[in-house]
Amino acid sequence: MFYKIYPIYLGYNDVESSNAFWRSKDPAAYRLTCGAFVLEDESGEYILVDSGIPTSKEVQEKGLPHRQMVDERYYMEEIQKLGVVPEKVKTILLTHLHWDHAWNLSNFPNASIYVQKREMAHAIAPLPHERGSYSLVPGNGGPDWLKAILQIVPLDGDVEFAPGIRLVTTPGHTPGSMSVLVDTKDGTYGIISDFIIHPRNFTECIPVGSINSHNDWYATHKKLQGYDFISLSVHDEKVYSRKVYG
């Protein structure tokens, strides 16, 4: 089965280069975009890969410790512009549970949400300095994904998810990160979030700035060399220069 991959652009922040490349001394800022992907199969059905970010309004109202986007777009608006009908979405794949990848889940009441069990365990009880990334802050009522917990189907390791979609565990950025390899008519694309922020993380073997385990990151790097793919990362602004892949 071949899919089409639509990148969903949600805005950006200019951040220190060492966010994207471990201990980088490059004085130039890195344009860190946020976004998500929507897959469309040959019958026109949509699968979501990650589920976007909170709106800046929500961030302000709830006092969330999250970046507000420059050039902000709204995830629910953007996917509906594409043709996604939230009530009809049956499948959501979450690469990991950081705030910028797993918001908006309550809008999809008929979806099964797939995420690594290891990631759920970590997101429920992250390390003190990671609590912000998982939205565990006072007054917030918990992370958004917890509201959809009854829809979650936890995964345990690599999965041949469907013809044309492979799920591969890629820890390093977080312990339970997974990547989505998607076959298109132009070849296989890899949504390797956030092990790869920018393709250079993979091609030059430079870890990202936000690392849970160097050991894991390097082991994952070796693992990924066994797969053939073109990487797509929501945090790489170039990804949005095409409207569709495949």
């Binding site: 060492s18 390390l127 003190p128 300095h129 700035g209 385990s213 160097h214 050991n215 990151w217 390097y218």
Partner: protein
């Protein structure tokens, strides 16, 4: 009732450099902005109230002469003294060192071993295993570079004693496994006349970091770093005492502790 004297130690901080400013990301995880902090290179010698034995906790970095001679990828600090000189200045005879304890095997903690022909070297097994198989970000620190000769820690391989977990080394000195900075980092609890001191290696660059719990920028085990901090806090609840951070310039303002 016997009034047998208890073995108590004095901890002598041995400075091997001047204080040096480094960017905050080296100390604090994801500290992209901020003032530079200063650190120092050094190690500790322990003397005691009963005999002339000396114990070393870490043995510092290579001498400037060796850094020059072998072109080690290390900061050049002209005028920085060698451990040999500093021991002589403190009237410490390296031949009397029977025990060396490595908090970890980074290259600024385990050089100069040729000075100690009579010593056994204590290191956590996990640390030794990790030193032999570091990740690329740590290659320099564990001396995995293409230069002649073995990493410093490997040169005394025959006299390395691996320990696993917490262990009493001898009366008044306990090794505590405290991963975080590296998988096999250990802290040394030392009983002195002033109470306990915990030589915590590089888990905390400054006591303030231990107090605040602000994550170290140089780590292998994030989970371990937090657990280790709790462990030292528990030790302090049980035995009192304070920590001494080997890279903290303020630790070297006293001639000795205890």
């Amino acid at each position: 009732m016997s009034d047998r004297q208890t073995r108590k130690y004095k901890i002598i901080p041995l400075a091997l450099s001047e204080p040096i400013p480094l960017e905050p990301a080296a100390f604090y995880y994801k500290a992209y902005k901020g003032e530079k902090e200063t650190i120092i290179y050094g190690c500790f010698a322990l003397t005691n109230n009963m005999d002339d034995e000396v114990i070393m906790v870490d043995t510092g970095l290579a001498s400037q002469e060796d850094i020059e001679k072998y072109d080690y990828p290390f900061r050049k600090m002209p005028g920085a003294p060698s451990l040999k000189q500093v021991l002589a200045e403190h009237n410490i005879d390296p031949l009397k060192v029977k025990t060396v304890i490595f908090t970890h095997l980074h290259q600024d903690h385990c050089f100069n071993l040729e000075l100690f022909p009579n010593a056994s070297f204590y290191v956590q097994k996990v640390e030794l295993q990790h030193a032999a198989t570091p990740t690329p970000v740590e290659y320099k620190s564990y001396q995995k570079y293409d230069k002649p000769g073995l990493p410093a820690w490997a040169r005394v391989f025959g006299r390395l004693q691996t320990i696993e977990g917490d262990r009493k080394i001898q009366e008044g000195i306990r090794a505590l496994l405290t991963p975080g900075h590296t998988p096999g980092s250990q802290s040394v609890a030392v009983d002195t006349e002033e109470g306990y001191y915990y030589l915590t290696g590089d888990n905390y660059y400054f006591p303030s970091q231990f107090e605040s719990g602000r994550m170290n920028g140089n780590f292998t085990n994030l989970e371990g770093w937090y657990q280790s901090r709790l462990k030292i806090q528990d030790e302090m609840k049980a035995h009192g005492g304070q920590i001494l951070c080997v890279h903290d310039p303020a630790a070297y303002t006293r001639t000795y502790y205890g």
